[in-house]
């Protein structure tokens, strides 16, 4: 409960009262994110300094008020949702620090900086910040760090955690600590940096990050490979990745998504095919020209119908356009889109496709698959209407079965979206009782009063189910 006294104390902590939001229109505006469910907070604070954050958290810890850190609310797993009310800390205005140090090839950033802006600044120095979630032009780096965001380039370059050298964090008790440092090699003590990245705001609040940058590849080359049978597409992915070439991106579109795009905006995709893979190579222009020919041969050998290599940047853009059009195309039928990111080992891609088709038929739902095929991070998307309660019940069951299938095939619940509220009920299925218990013990050690993003990652009651729509 946020009393008037607490508001007064917050006013003395915050540098400006303009960054304390209490109006009803504000409360409902921070009740949602890109996932499901809406929960009103009692107050929103927009901090722009470590001192403000430390002051807020100390007070919250004393008064046992839940604290919900939030970037720009693009989360697909419910990370920023204030499920127990309390305070939302909106970091979107803390964009002030974005320093590139070309000599150390690092970037030092405040949590509200937009992910794509880091890469854009890095580019001016011939450097690259590789993680590229599709929302990178919207999302904040703070949110990316908390959720350990991925993206298409994950195939070659890994994900957010692979580029974090050091952090400044405010602990749940309001202390300011630093983890890691400014060097690639650093083995001093436990690797708290990696523990915090991906902890979804449950162990502390990131107030500054030191990120590793790498030399920017000189050029890219895009190609589109067309398959009559999705099983061959699966084989082609493995064949390319064992041919001595590591593409920067390998994205798959299944038949349903290809057809949806062609119905929406005909761009000349073949609609009688089972799957398309878009491949991007990066590196020295002469090397990738040669490599793209090799990739083409490898794909044709395992049964691809055709492989089209983009002639120039414009035709490359046209090829990627197909992938970009999938989202607008598939929501034309029904408005609600549930993007899952269960991830499986590469070798299981054909089997996962088979299972997904079974689930689609069993629950009579619209399901399309397009995603990061190269790293097994498929994105089965269910297209539905959240106002249709009966269908949503079937969708909930279908999503549960997708999770089960992924785990049975040796995969994981989430490749890059995070657990949040949506996948909490399934944690034990993947980690086992003891595995989950060790995580809960760590949470208790860091956050004894359970004020830091409570209600996330861990199931709150035994036998909790996935709920997308509340009655």
């Amino acid at each position: 409960m946020i009393t008037e006294q607490i508001v007064e104390r917050l006013k003395s902590i915050m540098g400006s009262e303009k960054r304390i939001l209490l109006e009803k229109a504000d409360l409902v505006s921070y009740s949602y994110d890109g996932s499901f469910g809406a929960y009103n907070p009692e107050i929103i604070l927009q901090p722009v300094s470590t001192e403000e954050v430390a002051g807020i958290v100390k007070l919250a810890n004393d008064m046992k008020i839940p604290v919900y850190p939030r970037g720009r609310g693009t989360s697909l797993s419910g990370g920023p949702l204030p499920v127990h009310g309390g305070m939302v800390l909106d970091f979107s205005r803390w964009t002030q620090k974005l320093i590139i140090d070309p000599e150390d090839t690092v970037a030092i950033v405040s949590p509200g900086v937009i992910t794509a802006d880091i890469d854009r600044e890095a580019q001016r120095h011939g450097l690259l910040y590789p993680p590229d979630p599709s929302s990178s032009h919207v999302s904040t780096i703070g949110g990316n760090l908390a959720e350990n965001a991925g993206g298409p380039r994950g195939l070659k370059y890994g994900v957010t955690k692979d580029y974090v050298l050091g952090l400044e964090i405010v602990t749940p008790e309001g202390d300011i600590i630093r983890t890691g440092g400014r060097t690639v090699k650093n083995v001093t003590g436990y690797d708290l940096t990696k523990l915090i990245v991906g902890s979804e705001g449950t162990l502390g609040i990131i107030t500054e990050a030191t990120l590793q940058l790498i030399p920017r590849p000189q050029a890219t080359q895009t190609m589109m490979v067309i398959f009559d049978d999705i099983i061959d597409a699966g084989k082609a992915i493995s064949a390319v990745l064992t041919s001595g070439i590591l593409p920067s991106k390998m994205e798959i579109m299944d038949q349903a998504s290809i057809q949806a795009v062609e119905e929406f905006q005909p761009i000349g995709l073949p609609i009688d095919v089972d799957a398309i893979i878009l491949i991007e190579l990066d590196g020295h222009p002469i090397a990738i020209r040669d490599e793209s020919e090799q990739v083409k041969q490898v794909c044709l050998e395992v049964g691809a119908r055709e492989a089209i290599i983009a002639r120039d940047e414009e035709s490359a853009e046209n090829l990627w356009k197909a992938r970009k059009l999938v989202s607008p195309a598939i929501v034309r039928k029904k408005p609600t889109k549930i993007s899952e990111d269960a991830t499986i080992p590469r070798s299981k891609i054909p089997e996962m496709f088979r299972r997904l088709q079974e689930i689609k038929a069993k629950y009579e739902i619209d399901l399309v698959v397009f995603g990061h095929a190269g790293d097994g991070n498929l994105h089965p998307n269910i297209i539905t209407d959240k106002q249709d309660k009966e269908e949503m019940k079937r969708v909930e069951k279908a999503v549960e079965e997708i999770f089960t299938a992924a785990i049975e095939l040796g995969g994981t619940l989430s490749g890059e979206h995070g657990i949040g509220t949506m996948k909490a009920p399934f944690m034990e299925m993947e980690l086992g009782e003891a595995g989950l218990e060790m995580m809960i013990r760590m949470k208790k050690a860091w956050d004894p009063n359970n004020i830091m993003n409570p209600g996330k990652i861990f199931p709150e009651t035994k036998g909790q189910r996935l709920v997308l729509v509340h009655d």
Binding site: K24, A25, V28, S29, D33, I114, V138, S139, P335, K337
Partner: protein, 421 residues
């Protein structure tokens, strides 16, 4: 009352947040409720009775209506429809002030009143009254926002009557038969641009007619929630332009063009008019589209760095992005420099800069920072509102001697050696 809100349309929003970087008020105000995603949610909440119309009013009224969010949206949310539904509910609940209604319903659609206004403004400028008023500080009785606009008001010129009567033929066999849409405010403040547009169309090979019966497009009324007046004006215009068998109806005003191409939405539920509105909407084109399509020949070399601030409604509603740029790039002698974040609204937005002056100036200041970063010699616009706002921006930065603001038609005419007289 709230049943009139476009509730169903709000469910097309998946709350992904891709609209946030495109929204000028989210950038300047930094709060979710001033973002498109926030506003769509507020309308949904209001329709469900979870929040009152009163509580969402500030957020909704501070929206510029630039509709850049629609261009950014990956799921085709019809934001314009959602916003207008709010305006409609609001207008029914609390009618706009008398003067505003008077202006929108009676003055804009009235040719005689507009002509009188133009004549008196011209007299005010011609007699030197304007500089006298400025020097004597007589204008200081007006609020800051009105004074700001008085100072940048364009020099009023009377429309060329010869261009406004009968059918104008091109030199050779006509490539297209077009009717020219003059607009109401445009023909008061920028009659010269209409004149030049007509001449350029002729130059490009069009047979041009200016229809007397045409009236105001209804955009400003629609933005204020007065769809009744907009529908009435739409019908008058459709009927007027149906009289000739034209290939295109052409205008040089981004904002009016956006209204004209959406007459089909406006009259979708009127069985007598829906089909006629659809045909009319399809014929409407911005002058840059026609000139770029037909081609124009330049006779003079210009110079300097030229940038382009698109009209939001030309870009986001009419979806015209490339034609003006291609035309500018083809002008001999100039260097075209893209404006960083050029797709962000300048803060003019109809009468927003008068009604919400401070918020508008914050948006304009951000815009001018981007302008300064490329130091252009010329800023090109494609709508009278944006034109005045950019003039104001240039004045606020003290750049009047370094940067000129022109309508795209003016610079094209200059390069084609076409004079207004």
């Amino acid at each position: 009352m709230t049943s009139q809100l476009a509730y169903k349309e709000t469910f097309d929003c998946v709350q992904c947040g891709y609209c946030l970087p495109a929204c000028p008020t989210y950038a300047s105000m930094g709060k979710e409720r001033h973002s498109p995603r926030g506003r769509i949610n507020l309308v949904q909440m209001a329709a469900e009775g979870k929040i009152t119309i009163e509580e969402i009013t500030e957020s909704m009224e501070l929206c510029l209506g630039c509709r850049a969010c629609e261009t950014a949206c990956p799921t085709n949310v019809q934001y314009g429809k959602i916003l207008e539904s709010f305006k409609g509910v609001k207008a029914a609940e609390a009618p706009a002030p008398f003067m505003e209604n008077m202006a929108l319903q009676k003055v804009l659609p009235n040719k005689k009143l507009l002509a009188a206004m133009r004549a008196s403004l011209r007299a005010y400028q011609k007699t030197g009254m304007d500089s006298l008023a400025r020097k004597s500080k007589a204008l200081s009785i007006f609020p800051e926002q009105l004074r700001a606009f008085e100072e940048i008001a364009p020099y009023i010129e009377m429309p060329n009557k010869q261009l406004r009567t009968g059918i104008l033929l091109p030199e050779r066999e006509p490539k297209a038969r077009v009717a020219f849409f003059t607009g109401c405010i445009m023909d008061v403040f920028f009659a010269k641009i209409n004149d030049l547009s007509i001449k350029l169309l002729q130059h490009a090979g069009c047979e041009v007619t200016v229809i007397k019966e045409q009236t105001c497009c209804g955009a400003l009324q629609n933005h204020s929630g007065d769809t009744g007046t907009s529908r009435k004006l739409a019908k008058e215009n459709i009927a007027a332009f149906e009289k000739g068998n034209f290939d295109f109806v052409v205008n040089a005003i981004g904002g009016c063009g956006a209204m004209l191409v959406e007459y089909d939405h406006l009259l979708a539920n009127d069985p007598e008019w829906a089909e006629r509105a659809r045909v009319f909407a399809q014929k409407n084109k911005d002058v840059s589209v026609i000139l770029n399509k037909l081609g124009i020949s330049f006779s003079r070399e210009l110079s300097g760095a030229v940038t382009y601030q698109p009209s939001c409604h030309l870009l986001n509603v009419q979806k015209v992005a490339d034609d003006p740029v291609q035309l500018l790039e083809s002008i001999p002698g100039i260097t075209y420099v893209p404006l960083p974040k050029g797709d962000m609204c300048c803060g003019s937005a109809g009468i927003y800069n008068i009604v919400h002056y401070e918020e508008s100036m914050e948006i304009l200041d951000a815009k001018m920072e981007h302008v300064q970063s490329i130091s252009p010699d010329t800023i090109v616009t494609s709508n009278p509102g944006c034109h005045l706002q950019m003039c104001l921006g240039v004045k606020r930065e003290g750049l009047e001697d370094k940067v000129r603001v022109v309508h795209i038609i003016e610079i094209l005419a200059e390069a084609c050696g076409i004079d207004h007289k």
